[in-house]
């Protein structure tokens, strides 16, 4: 009896991610959502620039590689051309919250019927650990070697809070994947973000607080602890917007 298997929506290509990086878990949750909703055959994913740039090799659905930060615009084009297909983007914090902020905000305010998986690990991983718009105050990175100086670099952007201030987007939730309980919640949120699209509800974004042990200079275990102790207090988990929930209360 098979009790545990690779999701069908993942290819057999071995992931290139560093040991202890949680991209692998998040990939799996996205693939499981595709399997459970049986949408792999009509899904087109959009990969970003960043650590998950090669996500196009890992997901078994059709894939597009976007320019840095432009995934929501590319996804908009795909969805407008093929409203019956399922379109998702998978983006990191530099991609989504720095260079691609305009595309993100405007896709949200159009309530574009797409799903965005936003992986926030508070650093640029692919390029070797530079300060991200989500890097914590005082966080040491390659480009903030004395710690993020908030008097010079400002404070981190809380994407879920920011986007939920817009009237239009349908669903925004922040989750984490640092322990089993949080992974279960993350799975539910990602599944919901895809189901919303299947049901034509509109813009659904799941922010996943993630790790980068390599560029944080930690062991995988320390990185998971840092998520619990530093990241989650700054980036509180929870549902930031759910237009479905509001209407249920009204009913």
């Amino acid at each position: 009896m098979i009790v545990f298997d690779k999701p069908n929506a993942l290819t057999d290509t071995p992931l290139h991610y560093c040991p202890g990086c949680t991209h692998g878990i998040i990939h799996r949750l996205v693939a499981e959502a595709m399997d459970e909703l049986d949408i792999e055959g009509k899904t087109v994913g959009v990969a970003p620039v960043g650590c998950s740039v090669m996500a196009y090799d890992y997901f078994a659905c059709d894939m597009v590689e976007a320019a840095h930060g432009r995934a929501p615009a590319v996804a908009t084009g795909l969805k407008r051309a093929m409203p019956d297909n399922i379109i998702f983007t998978y983006q990191g914090d530099g991609d989504l919250a720095s260079i691609g902020m305009a595309e993100t905000v405007h896709a949200a305010t159009r309530n574009e019927n797409i799903t965005i998986i936003f992986v926030n690990n508070a650093i640029y991983g692919m390029t070797g650990g530079q300060m991200a718009p989500t890097s914590l105050p005082g966080q040491v990175t390659q480009t903030s070697p004395y710690g993020r100086d908030v008097s010079l670099c400002g404070l981190p952007i809380k994407v879920s809070e920011l986007l939920s201030s817009l009237d239009a987007p349908y669903y925004i939730e922040r989750v984490a994947v640092n322990n089993v309980k949080n992974i279960r919640n993350a799975k539910k949120a990602i599944l919901k973000a895809f189901r919303n699209q299947v049901e034509g509800k509109g813009f659904s974004l799941v922010e996943v607080v993630s790790t980068c042990p390599t560029n944080w200079g930690m062991t995988p275990k320390q990185a998971l602890e840092w998520v619990e102790e530093k990241m989650i207090p700054y980036y509180p988990l929870g549902v930031y917007k759910d237009q479905g929930a509001v209407s249920k209360e009204e009913v």
Partner: protein, 353 residues
């Protein structure tokens, strides 16, 4: 032959695109091409198409990238500063071998420049513009009718070779009104097995991509693309020759500059001067062969441009510097008169006699 209607050049582009089966338009307002967006905003909802005013030129071109990846005919339009913003996306579209149409109704530059007509994006259009080894197929219409005709042609050729095409017009061409005939042409659907429309779990996944971390693969991809460029140079180069057979001086001009130059050539002939004109219709591929041939018979060339002189480099290369080439130009939104062109022709005739 369908009835002729009076249209602005910009509107002719938009209606021709619809005739060509384009059902997806993404743009951002900028003078002097906004009529294209306005026309699409009216028409697309009526025919089940997409009109979307994007948050920026950058977003618009990336929406184009998405639709092109799905294998549907798609376009964007802008004017010079907006095209600069689109170049990142254009490079990705070229790198991913996607067909698409980009319209540039040029205005004076650099920088914010002005809103009057210009041809100073010639280098940008024909030499790549964005980063990396790539070309666009570039059409330079010289009438409202050609704005329509080469819009349709651009979609077809772009699909055929999987190479993005640019329609390079200018503020005059965009704004002026002329009678135009827009017959219903059958849309030729090209098979696009590479498109991302969902695997249906019936085939391995397609990937639209321009990233090749292995340099050998990237080199191979570029070689393959340039093989298609070679075919385009062989098969798709368009130009018009006017009274060149016995001409001592050849005027080379495209778009609005060619319209003006033709008047000068006619006037020169009236005065008994042996003058002709070569009008490139495709700027890339550039009509190198006919120009090289003309360099055997003509004694001098005059490049007429609404810029500080950009195409003149290609004229010199095409003629292998065998004959003198002079520049007759205005820039910054100013337009040369036929008299100015005639003066340049006479000056060149004196020089070569």
């Amino acid at each position: 032959m369908s009835d002729k209607v009076l249209m602005k050049g910009n509107e002719a582009i938009a209606e021709a695109a619809i005739k060509a089966g384009c059902r997806h338009y993404f743009g951002y307002p900028i003078t002097p091409q906004t009529e294209i967006a306005a026309y699409m905003a009216k028409r697309m909802p009526k025919i089940g198409g997409t009109f979307l005013q994007a948050e920026s030129e950058i977003a618009a071109i990336n929406m184009v990238y998405g639709v092109a990846g799905a294998g549907y005919r798609v376009m964007t339009s802008s004017s010079s500063p907006g095209i600069s913003l689109k170049l990142e996306g254009i490079s990705y579209i070229a790198g991913a071998d996607l067909p698409a149409l980009i319209v540039n109704v040029q205005r004076g530059g650099p920088g914010l420049g002005g809103i009057q007509p210009s041809q100073s994006d010639y280098y940008q259009a024909t030499k790549g513009g964005g980063h990396g080894d790539y070309h666009l197929i570039v059409y330079a219409p010289a009438s409202v009718q050609e704005m329509a005709d080469y819009t349709i042609k651009a979609f077809e050729v772009s699909d055929k070779y999987r190479v993005p095409a640019m329609l390079l017009a200018d503020g005059t061409m965009g704004q002026m009104m002329e009678p135009v005939s827009l017959p219903d042409v059958p849309v030729v659907e090209v098979d696009k097995p590479w498109a991302v429309r969902g695997t249906g779990k019936a085939r391995p996944h397609n990937i639209i991509n321009s990233l090749y971390l292995n340099p050998e693969t990237l080199e191979k991809t570029n070689f393959e693309r340039f093989e298609r460029y070679r075919l385009i140079e062989e098969n798709e180069c368009l130009y018009e020759e006017y009274m060149t057979e016995d001409a001592d001086v050849i005027v080379v001009a495209f778009g609005i500059a060619a319209r003006i130059s033709k008047n000068a050539v006619v006037e020169a002939r009236k005065r008994g001067l042996k003058v002709g004109m070569l009008r490139p219709i495709t700027l890339w591929p550039f009509p190198n062969k006919p120009l090289r041939k003309l360099a055997d018979t003509a004694k001098g060339f005059v490049s007429v441009e609404l810029s500080m002189g950009q195409m003149i480099d290609d004229v010199r290369l095409a003629t292998e510097c065998k004959r003198p080439v002079s520049l007759c130009n205005r820039t910054g939104g100013m337009i040369p008169t036929p008299e100015q062109v005639l003066e340049s022709i006479e000056k060149m005739l004196k020089e070569v006699e």
